[in-house]
């Protein structure tokens, strides 16, 4: 064990046959690289349900059309998981429990602007993003500048923002004509160039998810700001000595989380053709699944570790697994087994994280 931690290459051993060490290396890769493990799991899950569907065990075919339509649920989940990535990576117990309430409140703002005041969609979208940024800034101020523990600060704002969202329109949804027209933002469209043979994709995958994911990826990996974020998450004292403005960097992570939540709010309002005051808190809320996916994607809750690709593949895995489970059971049983799958995935991936950290290597 101790030998392995000092030089990982020696784990395979020089005296072992070459072929064995190839397998061993592949296994090592899958166990230590979260993206590799998730990709394998994704192929296994999709293949398994595809075979089940071919043999007629599912209530509907698990084909490419179905997988494409399931992407509808991917968009909010993946965007919020990316928000959690930014916040958790920023370290010092970073977490954002309030994303669901920000979705509710900024969704109501979008609903009011488009549905009640008759604004065009684009300016309303921009103002919604500003609203989300302001709500995120409240979290950031509390956590980064005033020193509140993130868990508590965002628990409090989860309550407060959610309450304001409910009060904002007398606990009633806004679903006037203009809001229903906004549904066209999220209709399924056929992909140009690929044409009819390719399944129709929900529009918001191309208009919201892909651009945002690319931007987050570039910011995190290709800008000095992104590297600063990882630096303060790994060790904020060392980061301060490296002349990084720890507070401002951490503050901005919470603002970014608010912005991403606002984007989710717009997508959700358009998808349901209605701005609901409880949009972000139905079921067990939006924060829990988002945090689950982030952790599943290899984000270390202690900060400083986590990759965008891991989070996106984890979100795909959860969404397509859930879609398969829904077909494998009749009635509401499927949604119950989705809870089981989410919980089991989270616990197992966290156990794996702990295991790989003990072996002296990070994940992801």
């Amino acid at each position: 064990m101790t030998v392995q931690t000092t030089s990982p290459e020696r784990a395979t051993g020089p005296d072992k046959p070459d072929r064995l060490s190839t397998w061993r290396r592949a296994l090592d890769l899958v166990l230590s690289e979260r993206v590799a493990l998730l990709s394998v799991l994704l192929v296994v899950v999709v293949g398994y349900f595809y075979l089940l569907g071919r043999q007629g065990y599912l209530v509907a075919p698990y084909d490419t059309d179905y997988l494409a339509s399931a992407l509808e649920t991917l968009v909010p989940l993946c965007l919020l998981a990316l928000a959690e990535l930014l916040v958790i990576v920023s370290g010092r117990g970073g977490i954002d429990l309030s994303v669901g309430s920000i979705v509710s409140l900024s969704g109501m703002a979008f609903g009011a602007m488009v549905g009640l005041w008759g604004w065009a969609v684009l300016p309303a979208l921009l103002v919604t993003v500003v609203v989300g940024a302001a709500l995120g800034a409240v979290n950031g101020l509390l956590v980064a500048y005033l020193g509140f523990p993130a868990l508590i600060a965002t628990l409090a704002t989860y309550y407060a923002f959610g309450s304001v969202a409910l009060l904002s329109h007398d606990n009633a949804p806004i679903s006037t004509g203009p809001i229903q027209d906004a549904h066209s933002l999220t209709q399924a469209v056929s992909v140009p160039l690929l044409g009819d043979g390719f399944p129709d994709l929900p529009l918001q995958v191309a208009t919201f998810l892909l651009p945002v994911a690319v931007v987050v990826y570039l910011v995190v990996n290709r800008t000095s700001y992104g590297r600063r974020l990882y630096a303060i998450g790994t060790n904020d004292i060392a980061a301060r000595f490296a002349n990084i403005e720890v507070r401002r960097s951490r503050f901005s992570a919470y603002v970014a989380s608010g912005v991403l939540s606002a984007v989710v709010a717009v997508v959700t309002v358009a998808q349901f053709a209605s701005a609901r005051p409880d949009a972000g808190s139905v079921g067990s809320g939006m924060a829990l699944p988002a945090i689950t996916i982030a952790v599943l994607g290899g984000v270390a809750i202690s900060g400083g570790i986590g990759r965008v690709a891991g989070v996106i593949i984890a979100a795909l895995l959860v969404v397509w697994l859930n879609a398969g489970i829904l077909l494998a059971f009749e009635g509401s049983d499927g949604s119950q087994f989705q809870l089981f799958a989410l919980g089991a995935l989270l616990v197992l991936s966290a156990l794996l994280n702990a295991y790989s950290v003990r072996r002296g290597r990070g994940t992801g």
């Binding site: 509140f148 049983d333 156990l351």
Partner: protein
């Protein structure tokens, strides 16, 4: 009384303790609220309203007793709401279909709660998973378990086996619900345990510095499991109180309980970073949350305001604590 309620690191002087106690401030806030509500509304200071208030606070306070220990160790348990649902569905079906008596049902409730708590504790202490991640996972798993046991139906016609700790007249002694008497007694025991027993002190040591605690010879993993297991026992008890005089157990039982409990603990002055906090503060925090909920109903305000106030109270309580902490360091 006040001089000893605040469990302080030994370097603090006794004089400072009395002044800084978060409990004192909470008692003052509660007193002001209760006087104002008694004068401002006709219904607040009636025995039935106070009894309802205390009964509704009891489950939150009960789970809060265990949660205080967990948070003092530097952990957290967000699975308690789902745990309560599992306990409630099993026990309510047991007393309805199996005809279980009170001791049998109570034993089953405690055992289930204990088992769920031990699972959390083992995952955290031996699996090396961060507490919030582990219990987020078991939150989903326990909710799944509960929903499977409900079999897509709410449990109706539950007998009044637990009427003794229920919300009705049968569950009261001297006008105070028995559930609340039980809460006070258990909180007192827990307070004494965490203050005077070596193994109770170990929780504080763990929360302050796990590495130092291990070097000091504390069995860190065992003490961690103990804290989560104890919370499980209180989850079992809270399930019994919520079943109360029977009737209906719904599938959404216990949802959101974890946030109320954490709010109560934090408002009570327990540091979420671990190492500091008392059970008495948690009781007062739970009372404050219950009082605000009751007040908003009595004053005829929008019920949605309740959560806004809970959020603000959390911020104020933690903010005051942060200021005190900074002053203490500066000294």
């Amino acid at each position: 009384m006040t001089a000893v309620t605040d469990v302080a690191p030994p370097r603090r002087r006794p004089v400072a303790r009395a002044v800084e106690g978060q409990e004192l401030a909470l008692v003052a806030v509660l007193a002001v609220l209760w006087v104002a509500l008694s004068l401002g509304t006709e219904t607040f200071l009636t025995s039935s309203n106070l009894s309802d208030l205390l009964y509704s606070v009891a489950p939150v306070a009960l789970v809060g007793i265990g949660m205080t220990a967990v948070i003092v160790t530097g952990g957290i348990d967000v699975s308690v709401g789902s745990g309560v649902a599992v306990v409630m569905v099993v026990v309510s079906k047991l007393i309805r279909d199996g005809g279980a008596s009170l001791p049998e049902a109570l034993l089953v409730a405690l055992l289930i709660g204990l088992a769920l708590g031990v699972v959390n504790g083992v995952l955290i202490a031996f699996g090396g998973i961060h507490p919030i991640i582990a219990t987020f996972g078991t939150l989903n798993l326990y909710r799944f378990l509960a929903l499977r046991l409900f079999e897509n139906k709410q449990v109706t016609g539950v007998p009044d086996t637990f009427a003794g700790v229920g919300g009705g007249g049968a569950g009261e002694t001297i006008g105070v619900p028995n559930a609340w008497w039980m809460t006070i007694v258990l909180a007192g025991l827990m307070w004494a345990y965490m203050r005077y027993w070596a193994t109770g002190r170990h929780w504080y040591a763990l929360g302050n510095d796990p590495a130092a605690a291990r070097l000091a010879g504390i069995q860190v993993r065992r003490r961690l499991v103990a804290a989560y297991a104890l919370t499980g026992l209180f989850v079992g008890l809270a399930g019994c109180v919520l079943i109360g005089s029977g009737g209906l157990v719904q599938q959404n039982a216990g949802t959101g309980l974890e946030l109320q409990v954490i709010a109560a603990v934090v408002i009570g002055g327990t540091s979420i970073l671990g190492g500091r906090g008392t059970v008495l503060g948690t009781l007062l925090g739970a009372l404050l949350v219950g009082t605000v909920t009751s007040a908003i109903t009595l004053l005829g305000w929008r019920s949605e305001l309740t959560e806004l106030f809970i959020g603000l109270f959390i911020l104020v309580a933690v903010g005051v604590d942060l200021v005190r902490e900074r002053r203490r360091r500066a000294r």
